[in-house]
Symmetry: D3
Subunit: 330 residues, 6 copies
């Protein structure tokens, strides 16, 4: 673990520690004096940093997404801290623990992954089972499946978040299929396991969560269409009609055109899966909003994903109760 | 059971049977000759009828929503049948079995109702339990709760349909609460049991399903707000804050303003309940579309509720398979 | 009247006066030193305040919406003033004049209220008259009706604003009914008097205008439906059909679903009332925009309610005229 | 008055009368036999007509919008009548009374026109008064202003309807200005008098109400901009800034882009005028819906302009009352 | 060429000819008598046919999309013809000329195809050239590329229509790139040649133009993504970044989410190509509307694709001119 | 050229130079001390300035849009510079070169203008040619046509930008008409030359680009309708139908109601012209976004006009290539 985190910094001190470079640019003061401006960060936050002198070599050597070792003075500027860099160099791989830089799921990733494989194996249709297993055990996919977040900001936005979301969906799918016997559980499980595989490449989450250029130009729906299509082609005898069905499940899972689905769900299970996915994602967003500090006693933080605040139900009921008690006693 | 149903009629015959008057008007031919035009129906369909002579007394006595006994000739006009009424009079109550005129759920209504009560009793919060039980066992509500359809056309549009929908939602709520332990099952069950109580008065379903004037002017959300609010006031000591929460669950359950919810869900359980209600309703609409005769081998009838057709999945996979087999053999 | 208002404060002085606590939180400097941060205000504005030492007792005792007596140094920080609190305690009720903390209508509230009662009495339909009078003279309603603002920010956002808006609407309703003899004036007056009664509880305006939790979860339309419904039930023999009509007027008065009306106006007077209410509210918003300082010679301040600026008509015509005169003379 | 109207026709008779040609085409039977198909009409309705033999000369001579004298057999085809033309020729001007072919306002047009002029004269701003008078007394405008309908179908869709609508708006404007003293009545009256002048040319209403090609390509807002602009230019010394204001009132009076206003109202009176115009038009549409035969006891005909039905208020209250009385007595 | 086309049929005759089965069902008269109902067609139109007796064998043997030989009586029913089938059997392949059943482009398909290849060869970037050539010369693609329509109804809805549209786009792309030197012509040509390749499989156009099940579930954008992606993978060394660019051009070419593009154009050439494609398609729709018989002298038929009519410009100017001439002379 | 530009300023110096007054107001410090606050600018940017003492005379004499001569100290406040004015007076006309204050097209304006006239002369229809020439050579129009920007911020937002845009459109129109022989080039050229003439008055661009009051109230579409209409009326014998066509081209060129077109394109050339105008404007916006400094290696600056970033194509391909090379070598 690194010696000092962003959240530990205190004004008017000097620190030596490691950061990730989030942004880098050369700016000039109005007077024309150039300086190096960096945004540095770790899993606890981000801070602005400036280097005023002899920064040329550093500016050449260091780029965005590099890990750096920094010696700097921490200036307090009113309510904000800022680093004045004295020395900076690229960190050596052995100096860095990635876990210091990105938030992780609190679940045990290996258990989640085992559950993912078990879910794939529980699929009874042999073609779909082969497909799901091929994807989740593909050595070029599995390690990234364990790491990937489910989104950049909307929900499950942390390492392992995708896996957490998918396992939750598999459980939800089973409950839905028990409740509605008309549903084909195999299709729901297949959809759950494959529907966000494109996020492995849409997002970049080595050091911070962001979109890849490919992700921005194509999006995870199109990207996973290719991955999954290829996996189906690699299974000798995979029925073409079933392939069409699987692809339809993937491309329709956002449920509406304006959310990037080029087709609306036209298969019963595709419609149901869209609902389950939407529910699990939105509920995760509510969870995040309620967990965040809101500064309001009875309302959560504002949820950007859902464009509203949520009531802190227990707090509200309890306060109302207390007020009523007092009124009675008073 | 009545002797002849609409679906039994054959051209160039004469029948004597009972019908419900769906529409009634006096029209004139272009030549100015007046005649009585009726739309008559039963649970199997509707048929146009005309009475050309001596219809004045009948026209006075008989109105929309009356049951009538009719003797008529069945004319074939190209592909449509039409009745030429010879005699008509109001039916006596004892001549009519209501079940001949409206489609019923295929479930056992009493069992469904017992399940409703059991669900109400399973609520652990004493206030909510009292409320739910008070509503479902209210003698002015219970008999109508057993009969009411869930909608006029969108989903569960038959007698007992509301009960079917609510029981399904209770089951779904339990599964959701098992899956997401953070959810308050009591609130979900309360919402399921109460959310469509306003439909008891919004719809008229004595003889055919239609909207009451009150239903059109107020809508079931506003109507049930009053019913449930009154029931809460009748429970001594019902906590006011909890009342607000219950009312919010009701008024937000359509999830969006344009579907008539004056507030968006701002409580976690309100959001989840909206999803469950929407899923159960939409899935019922898919079921209806797939069950209807569509004239297409691989596509369901067009669903007005969902504005699309759905794939007949098994048929599609099977046909594709057969075609592939043939291709291989050929 | 309190000794010093926010708008009177000058830098580098020390003051002792009363404020309302708008926000309260404990924050820490980056260095981890905790301090008390308050937002204090009165009817002339708001100011940030910090207490750096021995604030623990104050922090326990004082909460949002409390009135406080404060002794503080006024620091000038560049263009903003800020209070450094030296002493703070809760104010005693007798030390406070509420009028120092909220903007009032400039009209005479008692006269407005007398006009409200007179309008209620002018209703000729006996049921509607009884209803309107019962509401406006209800001792639990009348005092709040005199105080309530019509909205938090959109229009008439000051104490007594609701009354002003309603009296204006009554006058407008009479003119509309004179102009269109087909209109039922009784219904228009009833709508005017009752349509915003829910705002008495939707908004909290004891010390500052904000939404109550109940108001956010239910909204004034649903809330007044309950109030007015109960008042109708309390009038023996109130015709149920007329009750439906009154409730429809209330729930449809926003005119469109996306503004929170669960039903569109389906009665002629409901449609007309929606227009009158919308006109009176929007015109008040224009008035506010034109009265505010805009920094532009020919354009009003930007109206958030209407999403545009309005022309200062007289100024524009006059300037154009002067310019033309000059051009002629030059 | 012509001898026989469409509404007088009876089957299996022969008639000789005058009609307006609404549509004309040469069609062929499937067997390739050509025939002349006409749609003929008068103010009471329209009827299809066919001429099977020796129609060539007629087809050459006669066109859409011509008045014709016809001798024909009236065939009854089930519930529809149809003419089999035996002889047809263009009518002579002296044979036709235009009043037989288009619905007129029931008001006295000359009185309405006198009121229009009086309203123009009541404008106190000398420039606006000159402008309004110049327009309404322009000999190329006045006769058409007396005849024009206010719309093709939406509201006041009959000869003289525009004048009726404008006079109503002038009255409404005066009431609004009395109620809101801040309003400039001169601007409101000017807007009322000029805002639909473009409809004189947008619509064609010599023989039936339809759009001119120019009307479809430009619309009345753009068309009247030119007419009024030219009239202002013809008044020596008309202040340019006031011209801008007048034009803004015209182009913004539909209130929203999607209704063809290229600018939103940005002057207080422009906003108010938009509301008044919208109210008067919509109320006229409600009036039409309530007056039309709907086939429903408690609901009006469906209003295409407003996309809903309206409650027949008196009928509903009365029926509910009667039902209640009965229930009490029973 | 077949002996008789739909457009040749005349009433009260008997014909023997070939048709395509467009629809097939067994229906019953109200009296319960079953009959075989077919919709038969060729490139000149469609006609309803019924077989009343001994149709069982035919009903078993014959299906939708089959070609049949029919002997039937042509009944005239009012203005519609209808076939009463006497004998029917499947046609033998050698009896059928496909050209009798679908409308073709009027261009020379081989010349268009040669131009397509030439356009592909004109691409200077070696990877894109290889890709475009691989696609257009792929033996499983080329013959279908020559046949495919560009759409079912919106534009270029006839055999060879896709090729026509693509060649037009290539020409337009060259002109755009000459005009805006900043544009990369290679990308525009690549987009033009590949952007609708998915339509080869989205549409079925062997016998009539319709959507395949795969086409409805996936859409041409997703389908061509797979085809083109595979083609790029088959070219050794194809740069992955360029692959991303090509795929982005394909998936963004509808320009907006609601038209099924899962991504908006984010590359300059993607934006420009979207405009060119939209222009060429819309202009083709205008062309179709203007060519169709509209029954109006100055207005085209209503264009469903563009939701409006278009002015017949020359006719309008000429008629206006003639009218003016007359007015002058008169 | 003026001695010092905004971009030349350096902290802690004293300057004497010329600026344009962009904003002016009298403000007070919290302590009630008034001061003069100006926003000053030239073509290289803007800077805030304050005058603390003896500013009364200056405040009276100087207004927005005046050129001033200023002597001031340049203060550095953190990263922003600010002027403390010591002396200020209105500049004399002869001291100012307008070119110092607004960005110009880099093209030769006289050449562009000659091309404009040549394009007008190339129109073959004599009426349209006369019209176009009359407009572009009108001495009250031509000088402003040479100066006007095409928009305030969306595209071609610099002096001469309108001319650049129009010339580009003329070229594009010719290419489109060559490609689609059905198009009437005369109409396209007329539209190109006239479609933004209203911008000459909608925008004010003497010293900075902003909207005139008239421009905000009427918009360029309505304004040019009047200008062009008048020009057509001034040409003896101009065919009225052609006038309607020209006006339709102008008012429909934004293509959609919400962009301020009161009519949708209903003439083929109007539709095509809308596409060409939209393409040229959007491509200019892309050009601007790509030229601006974005701080991102592979993405352009965010385009407010298009609400997205664009890929820096060459950079992306090259970087990807380099990365691939390295990977291969590594």
């Amino acid at each position: 673990m690194k010696p000092v985190f962003v959240s530990d910094l205190a004004g008017d001190t000097t620190v030596t520690t490691f950061f990730l470079v989030l942004e880098k640019e050369i700016r000039s003061t109005r007077e024309g004096k150039p300086y190096l401006r960096l945004e540095l960060g770790d899993k606890t936050g981000a801070i602005e940093a400036r280097m005023w002198d002899q920064f040329e070599a550093a500016a050449r050597e260091i780029g965005r997404d590099d890990f750096v070792k920094v010696q700097a003075r921490v200036d307090v500027y009113r309510t904000k801290l800022q680093l004045a860099i004295q020395q900076i160099r690229k960190a050596k791989p052995e100096e860095i623990e990635l876990a210091d830089f990105l938030v992780h799921t609190k679940e045990d990733v290996e258990k989640l992954y085992a559950s993912l494989v078990a879910n794939a194996e529980s699929i009874r249709n042999p073609w779909l089972q082969k497909l799901a297993k091929a994807i989740v055990t593909d050595p070029s996919i599995a390690p990234r499946y364990k790491r990937a977040p489910a989104a950049k900001v909307m929900h499950h936005a942390y390492l392992g978040g995708l896996l957490e979301h998918v396992i939750s969906l598999c459980g939800l799918a089973k409950r839905a299929a028990e409740h509605y016997p008309e549903l084909n559980l195999d299709l729901l499980l297949t959809a759950a396991i494959l529907h966000d595989v494109g996020k492995l490449d849409e997002l970049c989450y080595e050091r911070a969560i962001s979109y890849t250029v490919e992700g921005q130009l194509l999006g995870h729906i199109v990207m996973e269409t290719e991955t999954v299509s290829r996996a189906m082609d690699a299974i000798a005898g995979f029925p073409p009609a079933l392939k069409t069905v699987v692809l339809h499940l993937l491309i329709s899972h956002h449920g509406q055109y304006e959310f990037g689905s080029p087709k609306l769900p036209m298969i019963r299970e595709a419609l149901v899966f869209h609902f389950l996915d939407d529910l699990d994602s939105k509920l995760a967003a509510v969870r995040t909003a309620l967990a965040a500090e809101s500064g309001e006693e009875e309302w959560s933080a504002f949820s950007g994903a859902l464009q509203r605040r949520f009531l802190k139900l227990d707090r509200f009921l309890e306060r109302a109760n207390t007020a009523a008690e007092k009124a009675k006693q008073g």
